[in-house]
Symmetry: D2
Subunit: 354 residues, 4 copies
C-alpha cells in the first residue's frame, strides 16, 4: 500500500536510504526447492555497480549481498528471503549543502510536500541506490524462470539511435562495451558523446530495449493485470523513466489493422510480431519486446537557480559523484524488473485452470 512492495505471489519488499547503514529487502513467495546460484546474483550486481567504467558514477560501493534467511544449504526453503547490502561509501557531507535546497527536477520538493520530512543525504529513499535491491530479487527471479531469457540493451543515447529491429541484434555484443549498445561503432560514438557531456557537467537521456525469449504461453492476468500493463508499471517505477511501449508501440498507432494484425502459422506461432508477444494481456509464446525511455539525470555539475525550503532563492550545484547518462547501468535494472513481473505471472498462471 505504501509503495515499497512489488508483485503478488513472488513479492519483493525493499527498504533503505542511500546514506543509511544499509539497504535491503525481503522476497516472499519464492517456492521452496530452488538451488540458488550466488555467482549469477553477484554478476548481475556488478553490471549495475557504480565505478564499472569511465562513463558511470565513480562512487565505490562494494554492493555485497548478505542473505539472512530463506535459503538453507543453498536451496530456497519457501520461507521469506531477507537480504542486506551495506552502504560502504556514504559521504553524507557531500549533501550538507542541499539540506534545505530543492534541486530542480529531483524529488526533494515533492517528498517535503508529502511527508513533511526527508532524509536529504543523497536523495535518501528517492535515490536510485534502491534499485540494487531490485537487481538482487530479479537475479533470483531469473533463476526461477529457467529457460526463459531476458536481454536488455541500450537502443539510444540522446539523439543517437541504434535503429535496429530486435531480431537483428547480436546479443553477444551487448556486454562488450561500457554503453551496453550491441553495435560496436554506435557504442563507441555514444561513449564519446557521454564523455563529452560529462566534461560539460551535463547529462543526457536515452532508451533501453528489452527482449524476452522462450516465454511460456499464458502469462498475464486480464483485465487489469495484463502482462504488458505490469511490465509497464515495473519499468515506470524505475528512477528517471518517462515512457514505455511494447510491440509496435507508438509507431503502431499509424498502421492499419490489415497491416498490423499478426497472422498465425499452423503451429500457433505468428508470421509477424507487432503484438510484441502479448495478445489480450496474455503471452502468446512469441518474443516479447519493449522499449523504456529514460530522461537525462537531474543532477548536473552546473549552477542552477532554485529555491530553499522557505521559498528563498538559492543556488543548486551538483557535487558528489553522479552518472552523466543512466542507460548503461539501467540495463540490468530493466532486466531485473522484467524478471520480477514474469516470475510473478509464471507462478500465478499455475492457478489458471484445473
Amino acid at each position: 500500500m505504501a509503495g515499497n512492495s512489488f508483485g503478488n505471489i513472488f513479492k519483493l519488499t525493499t527498504f533503505g536510504e542511500s546514506h543509511g547503514p544499509a539497504i535491503g529487502g525481503v522476497i516472499d513467495g519464492c517456492p521452496a526447492g530452488l538451488s540458488i546460484n550466488f555467482e549469477a546474483i553477484n554478476a548481475e550486481m556488478k553490471r549495475r555497480m557504480p565505478g564499472q567504467s569511465a562513463i558511470v558514477t565513480q562512487r565505490k560501493e562494494a554492493d555485497e549481498v548478505k542473505f539472512l534467511s530463506g535459503i538453507f544449504e543453498g536451496i530456497t526453503t519457501g520461507m521469506p528471503i531477507g537480504f542486506l547490502i551495506e552502504n560502504t561509501d556514504q559521504k553524507s557531507k557531500d549533501y550538507a549543502h542541499i539540506k534545505n535546497i530543492y534541486r530542480p527536477s529531483h524529488a526533494d520538493y515533492t517528498f517535503d510536500q508529502k511527508y513533511g520530512i526527508r532524509d536529504y543525504r543523497g536523495g535518501g529513499r528517492s535515490s536510485a541506490r534502491e534499485t540494487a535491491c531490485r537487481v538482487v530479487a530479479g537475479a533470483i527471479a531469473k533463476q526461477l524462470l529457467g529457460n526463459l531469457k531476458i536481454t536488455a540493451y541500450v537502443s539510444s543515447v540522446g539523439k543517437m539511435e541504434l535503429g535496429k529491429h530486435y531480431s537483428e541484434i547480436d546479443f553477444s555484443e551487448i556486454e562488450k562495451n561500457p554503453v551496453r549498445c550491441p553495435d560496436a561503432a554506435m557504442a563507441s560514438e555514444m561513449e564519446d558523446f557521454i564523455k563529452d557531456i560529462r566534461k560539460k557537467g551535463d547529462t543526457v537521456g536515452g532508451t533501453v530495449t528489452c527482449v524476452i525469449q522462450n516465454v511460456p504461453k499464458g502469462l498475464g492476468e486480464p483485465v487489469f493485470d495484463k502482462l504488458h500493463a505490469e511490465l509497464g508499471k515495473a519499468m515506470l517505477s524505475i528512477n528517471a523513466v518517462k515512457g514505455f511501449e511494447y510491440g509496435s508501440g507508438f509507431e503502431g498507432t499509424k498502421m492499419k489493422g490489415s497491416e498490423h494484425n499478426d497472422s498465425f502459422n499452423i503451429d500457433g506461432s505468428t508470421k509477424t510480431n507487432h503484438s510484441g508477444g502479448i495478445q489480450g494481456g496474455i503471452s502468446n509464446g512469441e518474443t516479447i519486446y519493449f522499449k523504456v525511455a529514460f530522461k537525462p539525470v537531474a543532477t548536473i555539475m552546473q549552477k542552477q537557480e532554485t529555491i530553499d525550503s522557505k521559498g528563498n532563492p538559492a543556488i543548486a550545484e551538483g557535487k558528489g559523484r553522479h552518472d552523466p547518462c543512466v542507460v548503461p547501468r539501467a540495463v540490468p535494472i530493466v532486466e531485473a524488473m522484467a524478471a520480477l513481473v514474469l516470475a510473478d505471472f509464471w507462478l500465478l498462471n499455475k492457478l489458471s485452470k484445473l
Copy 2:
C-alpha cells in the same frame, strides 16, 4: 490477484462478458458522505456509448447503470457500491462463425492457451465492453476528486497528428466533433479518414492525450507505486493500448539535463514542466499530462487467413459491428482510469504523515 480488481483503497472489481446477461462491478472503499450526481455518470456513459456517431460501432447498447448498494438517498454510505449494466443488444449468433477460429491479433488464442476454455461470443471477457464498468467507477472517482480536472482528447489518428502542446488546447473544442480532437479542421480531416478506412473494411490506430489540472501535491507512493507508474499501468490495461509516456516522454530522452530540468519559481511552481507534474513519483502540483498509444482495432471486415483451434487453416472475416478507430470512444475511458488512480492516491495520501 486474478486481475479483475484495480486500486488499493478506492478499489474497483469488475465482472461480465460482452454477451452474457450483464456486466457490472463493485467499488469498495469510496468514503461515506459523497453526494452522487447520477446525471454526471450517465453523461460519461454516453461519451463511451456505441452508436453515438457515424464513426463508431453501431451496436445499440442502452448502457443504463443500475446501482444496487452503497448509496442511500443519493449519498454514499461507505459500503461497497454494486452496480450492473445489462447487455441488451447481444447478437450472439454474430459470433457462431468464430467459435473455433482464432482471429489474428485478438485474445482468442491466448485465452484458450491459458484457460482451456473461452466464452467466444463477442470476445467474451476480452471485449472492450468491460470498459463500461470502468467509466461508471471513474465517474464516481471524478466526483470524489472535486476541483481536480481530468481532460482527455484525441491527439492523433493514424499519421495525422494534432501537433499542439497541451497548454495550447482549447478544451471546449473537444466534444464539438465526433473525433474528440480539439481542432475543428484537423478533426474534420480525421473524421473523413476514419470514414474512408471503414469503407475499406479496415481500421486505424491513434493516440489520446490526457491533461490533469488542479492536482494536489503529494499524490503517489514511491518507490514502486509511483504516480506515473500506476497511471501507466492503468492506461496499458485498456484494450488496444501499446504505449504510455508522460511529461517529456520519449522525446525527453534526447534532451540534456540542463535543458530538461524544471526550475522553481519562488512559490514552488516550476517555470517549465518537462516533469509532467510528477517528480520522484509524486505530484508536485503542476499540470499532469501523458499520451496513450492505441493500435488499430484487430477486427477488420476483410478475409484473413488464420487457423482454428485444431490447427487447421481457416478464414476469419469480421462480422458484427465494430469500431474502425477506437480513440474517439477511448477518451472517456482514459479519463476514467486516470480518475481511479488519482482517487486511490488522494485517499492514500491522507495517511502519509501524522
Copy 3:
C-alpha cells in the same frame, strides 16, 4: 481494504444491503474448468434460507441466485463469477421506527459513528442477509475442493450442550431436525427451548462445531496466515460470533505437554488429535475441527430503554421477523466460510515448492 473482500487467490467480494434491490458478489480467482453443480448451490442456500422451520425467522426470501458471468455452458472460464440475489421480501416500513434509534448491541451506533450515515432499513449492510452471498461462494469452493468434506452442526444452544467428541457424531443425523444437532433427543429439547424463548420475545446463543475430513497436507501459510488463524478470522467475521477455538482449544490450556502432544504412527498420521489437524499453521492430514461461539441475537421482542441519534432517551422494540437463535441457520454459513479458507489455501499451496 474496506473490508468487503475475503481471500487471496479464491477471492470473494460482496455487496448489498438487506433492504436494497439486491445483494450479490464477485468470485475472482476460481480456476477455469470446474463443472458447476447448480443444484448443490441451491441446496446450500435452502439450508440457510429464512422460513425453513418454525424456529427460524419467518421472512420469505426466495434467495434465488442469478449467475451473471464466469460460467459458460456450465463450466467456469477463469473469469470473475458475478452473481446476484434479489431482495424480494423487503418490508422497509418495518424499520421506520428505528430510523433514529440505536438498538442495544446492534451496529446502529457504531455505523453512525464511523460513517456518519447508515442505511437503517433492516440493519442495512450489517444485517446477516449478507451471509447469503458467502453461502453461494462457499458452495462453489466446496466443489473445487472435491473429496474434502466439511460438516458443521449445532453443538450447544444456551446451556444445553451436545457434549460429544467430533469422532462420536453420526453426521447423517444433522439434517434430520430443524436445530441441526446430530442427536435426536438433544435436538428435540433444544427445539422446545428455542420455541419457548421465542414466545417470551427473547433470544439465546449457542455454538456450532465444524469438522473437516480428507484434508490434503500442506494447507496454510505461516507465519501470519496460519490455517487456523484464517479459519478463526473467517468465523469471527460472521455476524454474532464471539469466539473460536480449534483442536483442544481452551480446554487444552489445562493440559501438560506430555498429555497434549500427538504421537505419530508410522504412516505419519497421529494417535491422538489435540492439534486439530493443524501443526505450525499447516494441515497435517488429520481431521480439522473447531468450535464457534454465537451470542444471543440482539433483536428481542421486548421493550428496551435506549437513546436516539441525538442522545435523547428512547424505546427500542423489535418488530419484523427475526431468529430467536441463529445457530441452526449458521451451520451452512460456517461451512461456507471454511470452504472459502480451504479453497484459497488449496490453490496457494500449489505454489509452495517447485
Copy 4:
C-alpha cells in the same frame, strides 16, 4: 500472500529463522512525523526476552534491535522501516539430533510435507523466535496509537485461573512478578507450579487476557475485516495459540438476549459491556477485552516415541533451552499483535468518511 506480512496500511513483513544469522522485518506504511521512543521499544523487547526469570527459557539472546531505514534524526520519514535482530546465541549443534526426526506436535512434519525441505535448526522459521520482530513493530504501533492503552496479563496457568473480571484488575501488579499475573498470591502459586512442571521435564498451557482502553470509536472494517476478526487472526497467528474469545465469549452463548444486550447511557456509552467494546465489527469506544488460549509447549524434556522422515520409529528427546510455559513471555507478544491491528484500523478509519 505467502504469509509473512501482516496488516493493510501499517504493514509488517518479517523474515528470519531462529538459527540463521539474523531475524528482521520491514514496517511499511508508518506515517511520517512520529518521534520514536527507542527506550520504549527496548523495554518491550526485554519483556519478551529469554532468560528474564527462572521460569522461562535460559537462552541468552541480547535481542538488540538495529534500525536500518525509515527513521531520520529520531523521526519517521514515511519510508519503510527496516530492522534487524542478530541471533547471537545460536547453538545449532543442539539440533543435529532432530535433523531427520519429527517432533510430536511440532511443525517439523507439516513443513516437510508442504515445502519438501526445512531448516531444522531450532524449529527454523516455525520457532517463536520470529515473534521478536512482532514486538518491535508492535512497540512502534503503540507509539502511533498515543493515548490508547493496551494491557495484557496472564489469566490462567494450567487449571489455575485468576477468575477476575477485567474491571477488577490492578494493572500495576502485572509486572511485579515473573508470571505476569496481576494477583500476587495467585502468581506465586502459578510460579511454583511452573517450576515443578519444569523439574519434571514437562510443560503446561495457559491463557492471556488483553484489555484495551481509550479506544477511538470507528475502528474495524466490516463485513469481513471486523475488528474482532482481525484481532482473532492476529492472536491465532502467534505460536501455540488454540483459541480466542472477546467480550462475553463462549460464556455469552449461554445467555439470553435480554441479559446480554448492552443498554446505552445518554452519552452513548453502555451500562454493561458484553459486547467487549465492539459492535458490528466496529469499536464503540468502550473497553475492548479478549482472552487467548495457549497450549502446553510441545518440546518436553522427556523421551517420546516418534518417527523419522523415512517413516522409521525414532525417539525424540528435548534438548536445548525451552519454556515450560509460554504465557509469561506471550504477554508482550499479545499486546504487540493487538497494537498492529489497532494501528492499521486507526489509519484506515481516517478514510471512512469525507
